[in-house]
Amino acid sequence: MLGKTANGLYWMYRHLERAENTSRLVETGQRIALTRSGAQEDEWGSVLQTAAVSGGYHQNHDTVTKEAAINWMLRSPDNPSSVLSAISAARQNARLVRTGITHEVWEAVNGSYMAAKEALSRRVNERDLPKVTGLIRQRTALVRGATHGTMLRNDLYDFARIGTFLERADNTARILDVKYYVLLPSIYSVGSNIDNVQWETILLSVSANGGYRIVHGNSVRPREIAKFLILDKRMPRSLYFCASKLRDNLGYLASDYGTRMPSHTLIDTLLRKFMSHDIDAIFDYGLHEYIQNVLGSLQELGMQIEIDYQFYE
């Protein structure tokens, strides 16, 4: 396959994953805003930060308002990570790699784009918000389903998966990075109402509240949440899960091509260094530093993959 095609597939799936994650963050923000009283601006500020679009937002706005934040995240053309921008970019990449994806996948992603463009053609009012975010979730799920059901499990598929899991790992790590202090032991507000809200936000942001209850029951404890999001082996958005999928897919490439590349060493190191300890050790090391290091390693891995597989000239 062409290096350009690997690049296109990788970014197509990164952008789809990003669109889905951003949409989920908007849903979470709205839910928190509706169910709690208090300073909403702070909450939306932190949602923007979690989506890693805070910098761009503040360059274009003086204050944080709910309407502006939602608009920025869902549909602003000035925000390259807005849902609409990300879906457009995914579709543009799909056009570039049209020869590498099945008819079903192309139709699903083209359909997503057409639906998103229509739904996000104007500002979304509060009443329509659940419908719109629901639509994004359904549409991106359709692409994932078509991919899963129709794509040959060859190198093309591996690059699609690598894009998906790098973006997802990055997303989960960023949520932890922005909210890490909420999970730290604190003498002031343990068990208070504020903490419960914050913890719930974190779980909702990665669609993990249901899974958490199944694994840990109804007692919400910060250390358990951190463990669930970082180390759980079955939770599909945990750092461990994403990293092990990255190792698997890179491994398929290595055996397919018969060559190990520097990126294989990087992912092995990442798993050994960051995923082989228990949660207490991570807290002892410092949750914030730990997440920062993981984010750095993920970025390095992404760049190495681009080099190893000749994404660019």
Binding site: L2, G3, R98
Partner: protein, 474 residues
Amino acid sequence: MEGFQQFDEMWGAGDDLRRPYHTFQTWFDGEDPARLRAKQREAEEVFRLTGITFNVYGRAEAEERLIPFDIIPRIISGREWQKLCRGIEQRVRAINAFLYDIYHRQEIIRAGRIPAEMIAKNDAFLPQMLGVEPPGGIYTHIVGIDLVRTGPDQFYVLEDNARTPSGVSYMLENRETMLQMFPELFSQNRVQPVQNYPRDLRHSLVDCAPAATDGPPTIAVMTPGVFNSAYFEHAFLANQMGVELVEGSDLRIVKGRIAMRTTQGYQPIDVLYRRVDDEFLDPLNFNSDSVLGVPGMMDVYRAGGITLANAPGTGIADDKAIYSYMPEIVEFYMGEKAILENVPTWRCSEPDALAYVLDNLRDLVVKEVHGSGGYGMLIGPTATKKDIAAFRKKLQARPGNYIAQPTLALSTVPIFTRQGLAPRHVDLRPFVLVRPGSIQITPGGLTRVALKKGSLVVNSSQGGGTKDTWVLED
């Protein structure tokens, strides 16, 4: 040509339903127009989702547009088709013989059948191709011959597309859409399939692999990029053939071969179906500003390291000035009269012809020799006095730049409108594949239809649409 006796392919000259349309007509009469309208909208939805669009240059907004599709098929009998095929095959053989001759001994010029300056001064003539032996001796592997019809047995060649004919993806997707929407029509009528085209194309390309090929030939389609107006088609064909779609930036020369950058390093390509114009192929040998091509590609080609389909320099055969010599060309190489007629053409470079054209602008179609897409032409009968006056000046300033033809009474085929069936003018582009020892013509082709009542311009860039084209098994 006088009197404009219009020939309708469904109803003939009056309202005598023609044979190929009998079964269709019965079906159509039993259909509820409201259901058909819904189907027409459904078809558009299918096209939009499939992404069959063409890009319009110079428009940031609405950069991708759909070509309107009309659900009424154009139906040709097997007998009519066979006759056409004989003419097309003869013409395509002549074109390849002509190209070989022009880039070798130029017998046709020595014989005085074509003026030497028609070749030497023509931009489409590539001196770099002189003496080059293309693999398999073939210059145009993929040809599209544009035909128009004026009566039951009168077909004319309007244009030969010997460089990079486009539109084949519409032929295939139009059929696919019709099969999805009206399966019953295909049970009632025996329509010859077009779906083998991508497989045939691949086989044709494989058969033309160069000497340097080691093992099964590697094929690739080359596109100028995602912003090209025909990008959809390039991707579609690569996908249907199961080969890579490359751009100049994916390619470089490695050990005397054109190689593509893969995830496992550079791999040589044996046959390149290039949809990039000659002048952009190789900045070293042609247009030095081109960023689309590969420096030195022409040298690899000359050394037999790659097959380019179509070969560089084929444009000399479909140039509008050369077109007027096609009857002579066919006769010269085939030793027999051309089966398919040319539209009578006045070469404005010749003083007598120019005088005639200037006196009769109101009745003629005047075209630029190098123009395409229906731009830069004058259609006398529908032009305003002002248009004609302006065109007269252009013509006088550069007569050699123009040819003129009578306005033919193009045949019509009905389209589906709110008021029911209504006749509209059409043309036809059958697609031809050439490989060593055989010529293959896909039964069908692209029918373009002028959607505006009375209009003769069928180009998609000017509001034309397309139809599915059926060739029946007799």
